[in-house]
Each structure stands twice: as structure tokens, then as C-alpha cells.
């Protein structure tokens, strides 16, 4: 095998390569767009990369079925463009989507803040074909939207970071593009006020697409002004200004025009009633620019801790944590997913201390995954955190599907 990596032309070849690796005791590391090398524990140094770059393209797309079957190496944005040409979309908004592949995003379970409204990858994936390390290509599920025929084995591969097999193709549920999108930005002097309004909106019947609280540093709100973002789009400037002004609440709507308008109106009233400053309502191109910028915020730092908790727990965390850390924060209060972002100014000791403190505080009430961290931090803390109680079963599943331990060994939870 070449050290420069493998690039099978089809899934059958990928499975044969995996079988050969298994016989040779070689580890394989699946690679899509290589946009998330920072995720998880490091790959074993001797692991050979196996790329999905030649497993690319849409295999089956009948727009009126509202489903699509794609090969894993298909670019996420390429797929969105193809669906968009038919007035449809895949309703997920992962951060750092530029260059990412469908297979990679599935393996990383990279969702965004739209998940509370439209579902996460596990809710959108209808079926999969996967290359196993015994040389077989196996499928589960199908391409219809309801299916209880056999086990949903494909759900095991979502978020498994390629440790059970190489995802070769997936069938996904898609939706008609919303008629309209809008964003309301508001800022609050106190984070607690922002949280209260955010929870009111999340618990209302307004059906927002996303409700996020952003807390930046006053001197550089998420790099929105310092050039890491595309400069000059008015939507981004509005976002930057809202973040600079205090705790920012960003509420997104996607749907029929009268529903978006009603949502914006009601949010405005809630903000006014709670003493917040209503900042901007973004439409059309401004909305698009801010929408994309918001999507990317959660991973825009050198160290990022992703906390998944219940919505109420997440809201409490946002209120309490901000004072303590000095870091930035992006919190999806609908799904209960909070990203804490620490810049270089926060030393490795501090990051380790904060991660450990949060983990022990939460216990089993949240999972705290260090998405990104410098090596000095990774050496001292497990990026995944303590093993879940069902870890023995996870190990049994790994042994059942990848007995030769070929697929991405060591990178996942509990060194799977």
C-alpha cells in the first residue's frame, strides 16, 4: 500500500482494500474533504488514508420524492447547489462546510443550529451503503421516507468518525426551499436577559429555524471585523455590531413569508418588553451573508468545547458561564448545544481546568466534547470525556462490525 493514501474508484474496491488492510494488520483512516482533522483523538500514526474523492456524485435524485441518494465524496455545497436548482435543500447548516463532503459530515455528525427545527443527520439519513473491513459492502435502510425493514444500522455510522466502516453512499430526506429567510438580531446588556428572551422564543409557537445566543469579545466579535470573514457584507457588519453591543440574540426564520413576518414582529415585541435593544432585521442578501457567518461561528477559535445538554441546562449554563470564562460563546437554546470558544490568550492550563470543571459539574447531564484544542491541551485531557455507561456495548458493536480494528482505530470515544 502506498503511504500517500488510497483512493478507491468504487465502494467494492474500498471494501477489498479494507480486507487487505485487515489481513496485513494495517489501519485505515477515511478521509473526505479533510475539513475536520481536528475532531477526535489523533489517528494512529501508521494509518493509511483512504479517500472518498473518487466516490462522488448524485446517484439518484427524483425531486418530487423529496429524497436524494449521493456518494459520500460529494461536496456538501455541490449537493446544495444541485438541490437548489430544483427549489430544494438539505436542511442542515454545519460549521466549516466549505470543502466538506456528505460522508465526512455524516461521520462527524456535524450539524448546525437548524437541527432543532429540521432534524439532525440521524433524522435525515434514510439508508446507507458502507464498506466493511471483511471485504463486504453492506446496506441498511433505503430511499423511502418511512422504513422499518431491518435494523437502522446506518444510524450507528452517523457520528462514528469512520470507526465502523467507510460510508460509501447515503440516501437523505430533503425539503422544499423555504419561501423566505429572515434574521432578527438584538442585543442585551445582561446575558441573563438574552437567555430569558431566547427561551421564551424557543418555547413559543413561532417555529423559529434557530435561536442562538452569541457572546463575543468586545474588541473582536468572532473575527467578524478582523478579516477572518469575507469583508464588507452588510449582514456581517450588522452581526458584528450586535455582538459588540453585548449579549447578542440571533433568531432565524425560514418558511412562508407571512410566518416569517409574524415571527420577526413577535420577537421584536419580546425584545422590547425585556429591555433589550433591537438591532437589525436582515432580509435577502444581507440575511444570506449573516446566515452563512452565523453557521461558521461555532468552530471559529483554536480551542472549542461543544456541550450538548438539555435546553434548560444549556440556558442555565449560558447565564452562569459567561462571567467566569472570558471566552466567546455560541449557544443554540432550542437543541441545547453550546459552543465555548477560547483564543490563544487563554492558556492550555486554563482550557484544561475549565473543561474538567465543566465535565465534573455536569456529570451525565451533558456531553462535553473538545472539538478543537492545541496539542498541549489534548495531551492532558481526553477530548471526548469519560466513557458512557453503554461503552461495553459500543465496544461490542465495534468488534462485531470491524473485528480486525481496521477503521480509524483509536480516534473515537474511549479509544475505539
Amino acid at each position: 500500500m502506498s503511504a500517500s493514501g488510497l483512493a478507491p474508484v468504487d465502494l467494492a474496491q474500498a471494501a477489498r482494500m479494507a480486507q487487505e488492510a485487515s489481513v496485513a494488520g494495517q489501519a485505515l483512516a477515511p478521509r473526505g474533504g479533510n475539513t475536520r482533522g481536528w475532531l477526535g483523538r489523533p489517528s494512529r500514526p501508521d494509518a493509511v488514508e483512504i479517500s472518498t474523492q473518487r466516490l462522488s456524485g448524485v446517484l439518484h435524485y427524483e425531486p418530487d420524492d423529496l429524497t436524494v441518494t449521493v456518494q459520500a465524496g460529494t461536496g456538501f455545497r455541490d449537493l446544495q447547489r444541485q438541490l437548489g436548482a430544483h427549489g430544494q435543500w438539505l436542511p442542515v447548516n454545519p460549521p466549516a462546510a466549505a470543502g466538506a463532503t456528505i460522508g465526512g459530515l455524516l461521520a462527524a455528525n456535524a450539524c448546525g443550529s437548524l437541527r432543532g427545527r429540521f432534524g439532525a443527520w440521524r433524522d435525515l439519513v434514510l439508508g446507507m451503503s458502507v464498506a466493511l473491513s471483511d471485504g463486504r459492502v453492506v446496506k441498511s435502510g433505503g430511499r423511502v421516507v418511512k422504513n422499518v425493514t431491518g435494523y437502522d444500522v446506518h444510524k450507528l455510522h452517523v457520528g462514528a468518525l469512520g470507526t465502523l466502516g467507510l460510508i460509501g453512499q447515503a440516501s437523505l430526506k430533503i425539503l422544499p426551499l423555504p419561501q423566505e429567510r429572515r434574521i432578527v438580531l438584538a442585543s442585551f446588556a445582561s446575558t441573563a436577559d438574552a437567555v430569558r428572551v431566547a427561551c421564551d422564543i424557543a418555547g413559543s409557537r413561532l417555529e423559529p429555524a434557530a435561536v442562538e445566543i452569541l457572546r463575543g469579545r468586545a474588541d473582536d466579535p468572532f473575527g467578524l471585523r478582523s478579516g477572518s470573514m469575507r469583508a464588507g457584507a452588510p449582514g456581517e457588519w450588522a452581526l458584528a455590531a450586535a455582538v459588540e453591543a453585548g449579549a447578542c440574540l440571533a433568531v432565524r426564520f425560514a418558511g412562508a413569508e407571512p410566518c416569517c413576518a409574524r415571527g420577526v414582529r413577535d420577537v421584536r415585541a419580546l425584545v422590547a418588553a425585556s429591555g433589550g435593544a433591537h438591532f437589525a432585521e436582515l432580509l435577502a442578501a444581507d440575511c444570506d451573508a449573516a446566515w452563512a457567518a452565523l453557521d461558521d461561528l461555532p468552530v471559529g477559535a483554536g480551542a472549542v468545547l461543544r456541550i450538548a445538554a438539555t435546553p434548560g441546562t444549556a440556558a442555565r449554563l449560558v447565564s452562569e458561564e459567561v462571567a467566569g470564562t472570558g471566552g466567546r460563546m455560541v449557544a443554540d437554546v432550542v437543541s441545547g448545544v453550546v459552543h465555548l470558544l477560547w483564543d490563544e490568550g487563554v492558556g492550555p492550563e486554563d482550557v484544561v481546568g475549565r473543561v474538567e470543571r465543566l465535565r465534573s459539574g455536569f456529570g451525565e447531564a451533558a456531553s462535553c466534547v473538545l472539538l478543537k484544542a492545541p496539542p498541549q491541551v489534548r495531551e492532558r485531557v481526553d477530548v471526548w470525556g469519560p466513557r458512557p455507561v453503554s461503552y461495553p456495548l459500543m465496544l461490542a458493536v465495534k468488534r462485531a462490525l470491524d473485528p480486525g480494528n481496521v477503521w480509524n482505530p483509536g480516534r473515537f470515544v474511549g479509544e475505539i
Binding site: 427549489g87 440521524r122 418511512k146 422499518v148 422544499p176 407571512p258 409574524r262 456531553s367 461490542a396 470515544v413
Partner: protein
């Protein structure tokens, strides 16, 4: 029963009685008979039945069965249509009826924790008082249990907009087949590690027994509009379904009923359906009030453009409930048409609805059978009901042949064997129509990770190569068709 087997059963009874008390352990013939069926045609008697009252007792019961090498089968309300809770290999039936408490409802955290024997509608009603709901709504929701919903990944009319059971389960406490207790998932999204909850839901009791279920709860919609579109031709109704989906509208529910169903419903329930129609669509849109009128107008004009004779919007909540009572009670109404029916649960891509409905009509004509349709059209989830008289052996044979042809048409269209009822005993021998031996073997390996001995609900889901005759030998009694739902 061979003597060693009889010994094992006797020892099982003794140890169960030791743990649960005699009151909750049953092994007399008539008691075993009561647990020998579900709503499918399959029948098989368990050796022993027990009704544990706690997770610890479920675990003890499982340990007692596996210690004797006997299989165990969990049972909820027995409304399954695929034989999933029928103890085809004998052994122990573990009824979960006593585990029927809602343990926790946390509105701020958007979850509820329930025991498996809680009835679906009971949870929904408890939440409804507070403006929240549990989304999956199987037609049997008045009686089916959430544990059974988890086992079968149950659907329901409103899955079109909100997804199936798997999309609404955050975690489960499970008694594994070795009698140990573990927790899969969490109360929040994205628990660490593999999505074991995702694969457990829908595994039909073959990976263990859920003893607690963490359900995601949702805010109920602000407004709802329900309409009934009636047609002189079934194909116009099917074309309207495709047109609605193609126009970018995803209603909360989009159900179809054909002429014979409409007339049976009217006679039995009186839902206000037009009895001279060849088909009706029951369409519901939900959401913010501002969006509803526009959605109703669009749907109305799409339906009329495809030949709807009339589109009626329910003018009151009472009228809406009546329209739904007809749909949810349709299966019971059909029981008036013929002594029995055979029900399928195929799914097809939505663009293939019309051609597969035609294939069903062709099969009916070819085999001289009456086939009626009531189904989740928006999802492409068909429910053809083949009516027959079990006393007529020739007709009964033709029912099986036609049923197989219909399922083959579903699969050939890019669809699959079951959308919401499960595989159970009924369709396990068809699994190789959609999966290769390698696919099935990989699924079996996952099962083995949970259940190495294969004692959790054996002979289900995977091909067992039994004949139909054996399965359906003791016939057509059991649960009256009037107590079935789809």
C-alpha cells in the same frame, strides 16, 4: 414437550414466582392462550407469562429465562400487525402492562421519561394540557404502548411532517439479554459514542427490553386546518398527492382512502365523507396562523386542478375530530365488509404512488379479490387490505399470491417491505428481496453485540424459512378485526 424442557419450564416458573410472587406469573393453558397472539394472523403459545412491576423484576425475569436457555419476548398492548410479540419459539412472555407510569415531564428541558407500558395517547394528553405534545401518533394510539412504539419504530399520520418514533426518542433504559441493565442515549441530543438508541429503536425486541423511554416533547402548533378533498377517480387523488409534495408544501398529514373504505367508514362511523366518491384525501396543515390560509388555498387549487370534485375545510374542531375519527377507525369499519383481511404495509417513492396503486388494482382483478386502500399517501406508505373469507381455501390462497405480487411491485418501484408495522414473523422471509445475505449478516452481527445467545425474541426480523401454512395454522381467530388500527 420433552421432559428436560418441561423441567426447565418448571424451574422458570419457580424462580419467577420467587421474584414476582405467584400473582404475576401465569402458566395455565388458558392463560398462555391469552398471550399467544397479537393483531397479526400468527399464533404461538408461550410456556410462561409474567408481568413484572419494575426494571429490577424485568431484569430478574430475563435472567431466569436465559438461565434455563429459554427465549423471552416483550409484550406491550399486542396491537402489532406483524407478529412481533407472538412467542413463536415458546419460552417466556414478559408483559409490560404494569410498567405504565409517566415518571417525569420536563417542559423546559423538552423531554418526558415514561415506562414502556404507558399508552401513546396518555402521554400526548398529559402534555396537551400544557400546550405540548408527543408527535408520533399511530392510529392505534388509544391503546398501543410507547414501549411497543419503540420496538417497532412506529409511524402514524403526522409522521409526514414530524418524522417517526426514532426521531423522537432521546434515550432508553434497557434490560439486555444477559439480564443486566444499561442506558442508551441520554436526555439531551448527541450523547457520546455510537448512536445505540438509533439502532435499538425499531429492533423489534431482538436487542433487549426497554424499561424506561426518554421521549422528546414538542410545543403544539398554534393553528391547524383540516380538509377533505373528494374525487371521482382514484388516479386524480394520487396525482394531487404528488402535486402537493412537488409544489413544495409539506402538510402535517396527507392521507388517502378509497371508495370502499369511504363507504364502510360512513356506515360504521359517519365521518361525513361523500359516499359516492372514488377516493378522498384527508389533508392537515399546522403551524402559525398566518401561514394556514395560504397553505389551504394552495392545496385547494392544486387538488381542483387535478380533478377534485370538492375540497371541504373543517369549520370546527368537532368537524375536524369527526374527519379524523373516520380515518383512525377505518380498519375497524372494514371488518364489516368481509370476515377477514390481509394487510400489507409497503412503502414506495412518492412519485411511484400512482403506478403501484395501479399494480394493486391489477392484482385484485387478476386474482378475483377485493382490495381496499387506506394509507399515508404523503409518505408513500401504502396499506392495501385484501379482503377474504378464511372458510374459502381457494380465496385464501389467492390472497397470499396477490399479497406477494403487491409487495414485489413496491420493492421494484424502489420501495420497501414495511413502513411502520415491522417485519416480525410476517415478512421475515421477504427480507432477501431488499437485502443481500451480506446486508442481513451485518445486521445479525449488530444484534449479536446486544444478544449473543439469540434469546431475545428469536426468529423475528430475519429470514427463518418457515412456510406460511405453519405460521397461520391455528388460524383466523384471535383479536377481532374491529380492534385493529393502521
Amino acid at each position: 414437550m420433552s421432559p428436560p424442557a418441561a423441567d426447565r419450564v418448571r424451574r422458570l416458573v419457580e424462580s419467577l414466582e420467587g421474584v414476582l410472587g405467584k400473582r404475576w406469573v401465569f402458566h395455565r393453558d388458558e392463560e398462555r392462550l391469552a398471550y399467544s397472539y397479537d393483531a397479526s394472523l400468527a399464533r404461538a403459545r408461550p410456556d410462561v407469562v409474567c408481568l413484572p412491576g419494575s426494571t429490577a423484576e424485568v431484569a430478574a425475569a430475563v435472567r431466569a429465562a436465559v438461565r434455563e436457555g429459554l427465549p423471552f419476548v416483550a409484550r406491550g398492548a399486542g396491537t402489532g400487525i406483524a407478529g412481533g410479540s407472538v412467542p413463536v419459539a415458546g419460552g417466556l412472555v414478559i408483559g409490560l402492562a404494569r410498567l405504565n407510569r409517566i415518571l417525569e415531564i420536563d417542559l423546559a428541558d423538552r423531554y418526558a421519561v415514561v415506562e414502556p407500558g404507558v399508552v401513546n395517547l396518555t402521554l400526548d394528553q398529559a402534555l396537551g394540557q400544557q400546550g405540548y405534545c408527543y408527535r408520533p401518533d399511530p392510529s392505534s394510539q388509544k391503546v398501543c404502548t410507547l414501549g411497543g412504539n419503540v420496538a417497532n419504530n412506529s409511524g402514524g399520520p403526522h409522521c409526514l411532517a414530524y418524522g417517526v418514533t426514532a426521531n423522537h426518542i432521546l434515550g432508553v433504559e434497557v434490560v439486555l439479554p444477559d439480564g443486566s441493565v444499561t442506558e442508551l442515549g441520554a436526555r439531551h441530543v448527541d450523547p457520546l459514542g455510537y448512536d445505540l438508541t438509533g439502532v435499538f429503536v425499531g429492533s423489534e425486541g431482538t436487542m433487549g427490553i426497554a424499561t424506561k423511554v426518554v421521549c422528546r416533547i414538542a410545543r403544539s402548533a398554534e393553528g391547524v386546518r383540516t380538509m377533505l378533498a373528494s374525487y371521482a377517480r382514484m388516479e386524480d387523488a394520487a396525482a394531487s398527492v404528488s402535486a402537493i409534495i412537488a409544489a413544495g408544501i409539506v402538510p402535517a398529514a396527507l392521507e388517502m382512502m378509497d371508495g370502499p373504505i369511504i363507504r364502510a367508514v360512513e356506515e360504521f362511523i359517519g365521518a361525513g365523507y361523500p359516499v359516492d366518491a372514488a377516493a378522498v384525501l384527508l389533508i392537515e396543515v399546522e403551524g402559525l396562523s398566518e401561514g394556514l390560509d395560504g397553505a389551504v388555498r394552495s392545496i385547494e387549487s392544486l387538488c381542483k386542478a387535478r380533478g377534485a370534485r370538492q375540497v371541504r375545510v373543517a369549520g370546527s374542531e368537532a368537524e375536524r375530530q369527526r374527519l379524523w375519527a373516520g380515518r383512525k377507525g377505518a380498519l375497524g369499519a372494514v371488518a364489516r365488509l368481509k370476515p377477514r383481511y390481509y394487510l400489507h404495509d409497503g412503502v414506495v417513492p412518492r412519485t411511484r404512488l400512482l403506478s403501484v396503486l395501479q399494480a394493486i388494482a391489477d392484482a385484485a382483478a387478476r386474482h378475483r379479490l377485493t382490495i381496499v386502500n387506506v394509507f399515508h399517501a404523503g409518505d408513500g406508505n401504502l396499506h392495501p387490505l385484501i379482503l377474504f373469507d378464511p372458510a374459502d381455501a381457494d380465496e385464501t390462497h389467492r390472497v397470499h399470491v396477490a399479497g406477494e405480487e403487491i409487495m414485489r411491485a413496491c420493492v421494484a418501484s424502489g420501495g420497501t417491505l414495511s413502513g411502520e408495522h415491522g417485519i416480525g414473523l410476517e415478512k421475515n422471509d421477504m427480507m432477501d428481496w431488499v437485502y443481500s445475505p451480506e446486508d442481513l449478516e451485518a445486521m445479525q452481527r449488530v444484534r449479536s453485540a446486544f444478544d449473543p445467545e439469540g434469546l431475545a425474541n428469536p426468529q423475528k426480523v430475519f429470514p427463518a424459512r418457515r412456510g406460511c401454512a405453519e405460521l397461520r395454522a391455528d388460524g383466523h381467530g384471535g383479536r377481532p378485526a374491529g380492534e385493529m388500527w393502521i
